[in-house]
């Protein structure tokens, strides 16, 4: 079956345009939730594991025991929320859109690491944060779904 993709020469109907904008807006909103839950999960896990101490083992048993620590438990709950919202996002949005856009969590994690965990943020770190943000801005303007009929950018 041949699928006719819309081109820039074919003006979209008002309904199609609304649907396109609606999907892009929904994708951005869910992406923000994915970013937020990821940041909280990483922060809580880092804080909990720092209190537990270094765990160097390929066996999962010590990590399973660590789940009872409050910060680790919070981290695991937010990790579940992150996983579920990310799966939902991947059900319609491209992986090549989701990956770079949700990487904004790295920027927030670095800032939180500097502010709350007293980790050093050098000039290179700020440069990295700027480069990531520029990359995200390039991707976020593309249409999030290219594998279906509503293709385009």
């Amino acid at each position: 079956m041949k699928i006719n993709l819309p081109t820039s020469l074919e003006p979209l109907s008002e309904r199609a345009l609304w649907r396109k904008h609606s999907l892009a807006g929904k994708t951005l909103l869910v992406s923000l939730i994915v970013i937020g839950t990821n940041v909280v999960a990483n922060y809580a896990l880092e804080r909990g594991l720092r209190q537990i101490g270094v765990v160097e083992s390929l066996s999962p048993a010590p990590y399973v025991r660590a789940f009872v620590h409050p910060w680790v438990a919070i981290g695991v709950i937010f990790m579940f929320a992150w996983l579920t919202t990310r799966l939902s996002l991947l059900s319609w949005a491209d992986l090549t859109y989701v990956l770079p856009v949700t990487s904004f969590s790295y920027v927030i994690s670095a800032v939180i690491g500097a502010v709350y965990l007293d980790e050093k943020v050098s000039v290179l770190h700020w440069l990295g944060i700027s480069v990531i943000t520029l990359g995200i801005l390039l991707v976020v303007v593309t249409y999030p779904k290219t594998s279906g009929v509503e293709s385009g950018s």
């Binding site: 160097e56 670095a110 990295g128 943000t133």
Partner: protein, 120 residues
């Protein structure tokens, strides 16, 4: 030890992402966010072969990430795992048939470079 943990986070994580994306495209959008709906979702996803295959890959990546976080700092562990972005983009283009235009290639490359800069 650190290099092994990074590899165990990155490679199974990339495979798991591709399988998750393929599995969720087959499943469709999640519409019921109630606890009961989420239980049904878990049950349905356990019958999805792509999602099932992604579980061991993501589990390896998750436990390796926990070990990495306990052995290094957040500002090292989180950024270093982004090295799989370009590999995942190439695999998504050919395996998932996604349209990756220059903005996505340049954007993803910039994100990977930026994340690498964060690890210094």
């Amino acid at each position: 030890m650190i290099a092994l943990l990074v590899a165990l986070v990155v490679i199974p994580g990339a495979v798991g992402d591709l399988l998750n994306s393929a599995g969720m495209k087959r499943y469709g959008e999640i519409t019921d966010w109630t606890p009961r709906g989420l239980l049904h979702l878990c049950r349905d996803l356990l019958h999805n072969s792509y999602i099932l295959a992604s579980i061991p890959a993501m589990a390896i990546s998750f436990f390796a990430m926990m070990a990495l976080l306990s052995a290094t700092t957040l500002s090292f562990a989180v950024p270093i795992t982004a090295s799989s972005y370009i590999l995942e983009t190439a695999l998504a283009k050919y395996w998932l048939k996604e349209h990756v235009d220059w903005r996505r290639w340049v954007g993803t490359t910039l994100v990977a470079i930026g994340i690498a800069l964060l690890s210094f």
